[in-house]
């Protein structure tokens, strides 16, 4: 039987264009903030797990070697994971495995990205295998636009309705980001701004899409029995799961999306959640594209198939709603990819411990953190609670 695992520290850098620091300096900022939050020093850490996008994004391969000093990894086991958008969730889950196994009591998880130093869409296109798919899969926007079109068609949702729901999500998250000092894009926008913004890849418009960001985040995972030694109220990992689809984009359905459905079902089972809409108080849904967030609401059982627009129209997933999503502003307003999934975990931990400042969802006890990666291929979820 695995051990209980708690989160006792979280640090993140300001996200955005971070030309002001080198890559190791950026990572150092996040790790130092997490150490300060947990009131620990490098010698208290038993192991380090870290990750980012595939290394062509950084232009330094095996970046955990280059970044080892900033990762406080001297003299410790140090592992790297790279699963594209879901990297941050993979890091969190790896850190959990380390602690739950009983081999390590205190594990530092670090996600990092500098997207402004490279052509991110060019890097992402090299994630596709070269023989059949790479020439056609145009960065992230092409993939997610195909998924958006498929979704609206599947349930015969009119273009107007789905675009309106997507625009409302965008406005809600941008408003949330104004309360998050770490977020990249912080501006007030209207539904009309979103609907009239430039088409990037039909039907996806500029304000339906996340920015490319620089940023880093660090989370401290500890053995449950040690959690009391740390000053912050612990956030408990109650459930987690990670699932993937096949390598070929056309092999599986991306609307009734199995990897997302499995990740939700299994993490709910582990956490004992039967009615996610009622039992989850806040969700940090990975949403680089507004339309994709609609699909996730359905895969995660927040509503039935084809009902996601109604969830937005009724305000269930918006600020003040029954299940508010992305009070941090989410991926839509900040996407330093390797850090992004881990920021979802950190934000969820802040929410359930009442430490989320102006973005706090009042009384939140149970939170869902999620990330998606690859060419719509991988999904991971972590359920985090204030109750052990």
């Amino acid at each position: 039987m695995s051990r209980a695992v708690a989160i006792v520290g979280f640090g993140q850098t300001k996200q955005g264009r971070r030309d002001d620091v080198s890559y190791p300096e950026l990572v150092y900022g996040a790790v130092k903030a997490a150490f300060e939050d947990a009131q620990i020093a490098p010698e208290d850490i038993d192991a380090v797990v870290s990750g980012s996008m595939p290394a062509p994004m950084e232009g330094v391969n095996a970046p955990h070697l280059y970044l080892s000093d900033a990762l406080a990894a001297f003299g410790k086991p140090s592992m790297r994971v790279a699963t594209c958008g879901s990297t941050g969730m993979s890091i969190a889950q790896m850190a959990y495995y380390h602690v739950a196994s009983g081999l390590f009591d205190v594990v530092l998880a670090v996600g990092h990205e500098k997207m402004m130093e490279n052509d991110p869409q060019g890097t992402m296109s090299t994630v596709a295998e070269p023989f059949f798919q790479r020439p056609f899969l145009a960065g992230a926007a092409g993939i997610f636009s195909m998924q958006s079109n498929m979704y609206a068609h599947r349930y015969n949702i009119s273009e107007e309705r789905v675009r309106q729901a997507a625009a409302v999500i965008s406005v809600n998250h941008h408003e949330n980001a104004l309360d998050n000092p770490f977020a990249h894009i912080r501006m007030k926008i209207t539904v009309e701004d979103v609907l009239n913004s430039k088409v990037v890849s039909y039907p996806v418009r500029l304000m339906d899409i996340c920015p490319a960001s620089d940023g880093a985040a660090a989370v401290i995972f500890v053995a449950g029995e040690k959690a009391k030694r740390f000053p912050q109220k612990p956030a408990w990992v109650k459930g987690l799961y990670y699932a993937g689809d096949e390598a070929f984009f056309g092999d599986s359905d991306k609307v009734v999306w199995e990897s997302a459905i499995i990740a939700a079902r299994e993490s709910y089972r582990m956490a004992g959640i039967q009615n996610p809409r009622k039992e989850i108080d806040v969700a940090e849904v990975y949403n680089p594209f507004t339309f994709q967030e609609l699909i996730f609401y359905e895969c995660f059982g927040f509503c039935g198939p084809g009902e996601a627009c109604r969830l937005v129209e009724e305000g269930v997933v918006l600020r003040g709603g029954e299940l508010p999503c992305d009070p941090s502003g989410g991926v839509l307003c900040s996407n330093p990819i390797g850090a992004t999934g881990l920021i979802r975990v950190g934000e969820a931990a802040l929410q359930v411990t009442g430490r989320a400042d102006k973005r706090q969802v009042p009384g939140a006890k149970t939170a869902l953190a999620h990330a998606m990666g690859g060419m719509d291929q991988l999904n991971g979820i972590m359920i985090i609670s204030s109750i052990s």
Partner: protein, 156 residues
């Protein structure tokens, strides 16, 4: 620390690759050069997988039977690409499309064309999910995935 302007180091990394195709993809592209799209059937789940594979990713058993599928099919979804990025082999605008070829059980990723792609309204009118398309082959196939220039809507 003082706020002097930070400097940058600039470099392009050029690394050539030579990817082995293996026996199955080699045969696929030999047939492709003859304007045939080949799949393999999984003996367990009976699905025809396109492009041909050595094994079924779900059943994890060898696929031995080769099956020719149609170069016509139905659009499962599409996206109009109008932005550029480094290393992009096809110049925008182009449409990425997922096509369910007749006789296949998985989607086939390629381009959709044969209509004015500079006009979004025209694209929305002519390219529809569920619409039938047909491969437009290059005159001189080279044995790679771009031997099909694009799939074009079949005029009724």
């Amino acid at each position: 620390m003082d706020q002097t302007e930070v400097k940058f180091l600039e470099q392009v990394i050029y690394l050539p690759y030579r990817w082995a195709m293996g026996p199955v993809f080699t045969r696929f592209f030999e047939e492709f050069k003859k304007k045939k799209i080949m799949g393999t059937r999984c003996p367990k789940c009976n699905r025809v997988l396109v492009p041909a594979r050595m094994f079924c990713p779900r059943c994890f058993v060898d696929t031995k039977e080769w099956v020719q599928v149609s170069d016509k099919g139905v659009i499962r979804t599409w996206a109009l690409i109008t932005f550029k990025y480094s290393g992009q082999p096809i110049q925008p605008p182009y449409i990425t499309g997922l096509i369910d070829l007749d006789g296949a059980h998985v989607g086939f990723l390629h381009c959709i064309g044969g209509t004015d792609l500079t006009d979004l309204e025209n694209v929305k009118k002519t390219i529809k999910i569920g619409g039938r398309v047909q491969a437009r082959w290059r005159e001189k196939p080279q044995g790679n995935i771009l031997d099909i220039e694009y799939f074009e809507p079949i005029q009724k």
